[in-house]
Symmetry: C2
Subunit: 552 residues, 2 copies
Amino acid sequence: MLSTMQDVPLTVARILAHGSGVHGRALVTTWTGTGEPHRRSFADVGARAARLAHALHGLGVHEGEPVATLMWNNAEHLEGYLAVPSMGAVLHTLNLRLPPEQLAWIMRHAGDRVVLVNGSLLPLLAPLLPYLDDVEHVIVSGPGDLSALADVRPQVHDYEELLAAQPADPYPWPELDERQAAALCYTSGTTGEPKGVAYSHRSVYLHAMEVNAAASFGLTPAQTCLPVVPMFHVNAWGLPHAAFMAGSALLMPDRFLQPAPLADMIEAERPTVTAGVPTIWQGLLAELDARPRDVSSLHTVVSGGSACPPSLMKDFEERHGLRIVQAWGMTETSPLGSVAYPPPGLSPEEAWPYRVTQGLLPASVEFRLAGPDGRFLPWDGTSAGELEVRGPWIAGAYYGGKDGEPFRPADKFSEDGWLRTGDIGTMSPDGYLTLTDRAKDVIKSGGEWISSCELENHLMAHPDVTEAAVIAVPDEKWGERPLATVVLRDGATAGWPELHGFLGERVARWQLPERWALVPSVPKTSVGKFDKKVLRRQYAEGELKVTVLGAS
Amino acid sequence: MLSTMQDVPLTVARILAHGSGVHGRALVTTWTGTGEPHRRSFADVGARAARLAHALHGLGVHEGEPVATLMWNNAEHLEGYLAVPSMGAVLHTLNLRLPPEQLAWIMRHAGDRVVLVNGSLLPLLAPLLPYLDDVEHVIVSGPGDLSALADVRPQVHDYEELLAAQPADPYPWPELDERQAAALCYTSGTTGEPKGVAYSHRSVYLHAMEVNAAASFGLTPAQTCLPVVPMFHVNAWGLPHAAFMAGSALLMPDRFLQPAPLADMIEAERPTVTAGVPTIWQGLLAELDARPRDVSSLHTVVSGGSACPPSLMKDFEERHGLRIVQAWGMTETSPLGSVAYPPPGLSPEEAWPYRVTQGLLPASVEFRLAGPDGRFLPWDGTSAGELEVRGPWIAGAYYGGKDGEPFRPADKFSEDGWLRTGDIGTMSPDGYLTLTDRAKDVIKSGGEWISSCELENHLMAHPDVTEAAVIAVPDEKWGERPLATVVLRDGATAGWPELHGFLGERVARWQLPERWALVPSVPKTSVGKFDKKVLRRQYAEGELKVTVLGAS
């Protein structure tokens, strides 16, 4: 039987029209450091997005073409988020923390012809331009040193002047197929070349609806959302789209991502929902400990990108009344995969074991665990396998193989099209995911798996330990054994035997590292995750000073 | 650019798998009157839905075939809700309040071959069966007088026996196109033949996501949802699908829809979210006034189906602390069109004018107002036109025209495919819909429009008035004039001059009715709306005793 429903596509243009119309009075506030925050209504964002679309059309941007942004979280980036996909082009967010040569590789791979850039980021972009033959137009927003662009080949435009020169008429947004690409984001893969994920209008829209679910981040017109997670990091986890869809006010931190200005803007602007990676919350905790601020407006603090140390969650809650909610996802999952709200009706003690999981999956996301032999494992809370994921906002391929077609590496996608996450974990019978390690980080010792993450979390619960990263190192007898690299707090008194003993009370004896190394800080990737690749190289090249404790 | 996302359909089977798996411990509780409520886990609902699908498959039900239900709100109806669409058939909910001949017409029009029926409804179904040649199987759930089925032609099955005879294996749910029909519901149109709306898997799924948005009804595992609105009334406004998707517990009233048992079940089972038509809340208010119960668990009481008298909202809140949230929709809109949450940051007095509107539309729903000359009107809060609606869960046609194809009557769908609602209303600049009347109920007096609803709402705010319905009657001088039909409270003292004066303080003089009639009750349609068609006929046939006050 045919349905009789209207065939209306799910598109970013709908989010733009709805947010700037029905929620036109909602505000996006951009932090400016010491000055007055800059405020712009959703209605104005909509009007300026139309001007931006007129301008890009004038620069010859056509349907399906990527338009790059190298920008912080601010109102202008939001305008790009809405205008570029709505006109049928593809928003290509560039990760400003990538090494320059990787950034250039990605821009060449995508074929970026037009780049929107914040003035403060010109020192990053300008030196790359000689290597970017495709780039024809650089549109500069906000203050910056324009002298760096004095002799470059591409045409340079001022964002505000460009918008002012456009007609105030509505832009004739085209009717798009919801399966067309809306946004392009490259994974900051720690191995191999970066790989592009091309989100569709459909996936962006459905993901925004899920973010706004009460069981997820619950954005409504009564909320103010602070995306600390950068807009180049998996679309700031979908929060800009979701907030504009729901009419939730947005507080944009711009480039002020250090703990002190974050604490200041939370106290001043009173956001209710925020999201970022654990290192952000680690920094904010230290800042609030040193100089308390009123952060009581926040009722939902989402932590994702990597596992949040349970000790950090506890400290935050006990010392500042802020409850961290863990969520799991990755570039390939848009990223919302699961959110760790505990089941209802539990005491704080009963809820805790659920809160430290990666969480419960929504209806649109399917999980399965592939065991070492490829068979799927039961959800019994103990069987550990590689997490595979399916759903309408989950990637099924990467962008731009050799012939320009999407490609599906076998280590990333199963034969029946599920995403292979490279994460090892278990599922509880009631649907909670616990990740124990990355498939490549797990330590394969004498036929057993040792979780590097578990050791790290235990170590970071020790009062003298600031950071800890555990890597596998070759071992003649066991194949691999764990090496613990540790950052100690100023004035720490603990030595290796004490940390070894501390760990010995918490994990099985055969899992205890024999090798220990003090490091000044754990190397991080561009999005703030531990970069174990660097540690493995440092170990291989003898750069770490390793202490070996008595044989276990 | 091609997107690289997985192409995963949005289907009822996904809701079934997710709810019965991840939320398997959630409960659906069915009220049984004086006995113990019956409780069944979502996991059991899922297992039984699989058995039901096996059984229906065994009866030859094929993809695209309608399977009818004539049932109350209970766990077994929920099993049908999930099993029938998931196996690729189409759930056809029958409105048990329709006149028998209309019910028979609808069943013949749909070609129902299999009917699931509650035993208590056999007295309604049995007499129709001789006229229903297509019906081959009647599946009876729950206690009832089976003797009525002694000599009928169709094969009669007991629901529980049928399920028990099926394999316990999972059912091989087919992979469906999300645009296939999932459910069929006929409008109880007050004019002309009933018209079928065939919801798609996509529309049901997206609608459930919207119901679960924090800005809508916000179902989560921490909620218990009581759908008082019947499951045959626009899928109980999508609540069963939404609750199963979100893992929200369900409290099903079965056939106990009278005020006293509703108050009892709210006190005993402590639901948090409920939804029904205003007449239900009117009855519950009187019940709670007469015999108070603890209804403090409810934080969201949704009223829809027709405009909720503001006096009822005030009385409910002042006397019992229950806040009614108005929502607007219709069979053709799945039904969620708008929800009347006020903008944030307002005082109760400032919020009130927003709360008595039909509400704010979500991103997936588009509204426009067509003026008398067909041109679209501005959203200025005063320009009144016919509401037209577009969106992925809005009907674009009706089911089964003469050649079996969907059909699009010009008075119901615009040339560009929007639904013409037949409702007259205004839109505020900030996106709130206020319906002033049905296009067919508006009183066209001397070239001006008088809203019958507005007069009714004012009249019903008078302490002596229980119900009031205003209809247009022919008038030589003005074309049409309003006639007020009024139900007075027992012991009322007010006469027509007093009510006329009461109204005179609230509306313009030229809108005041000259004609008044006392009625024992206002006739209602099968879903509890005022049936003005009957009043117009009664007036035309001289059955109303009309008093004419001095000329206005």
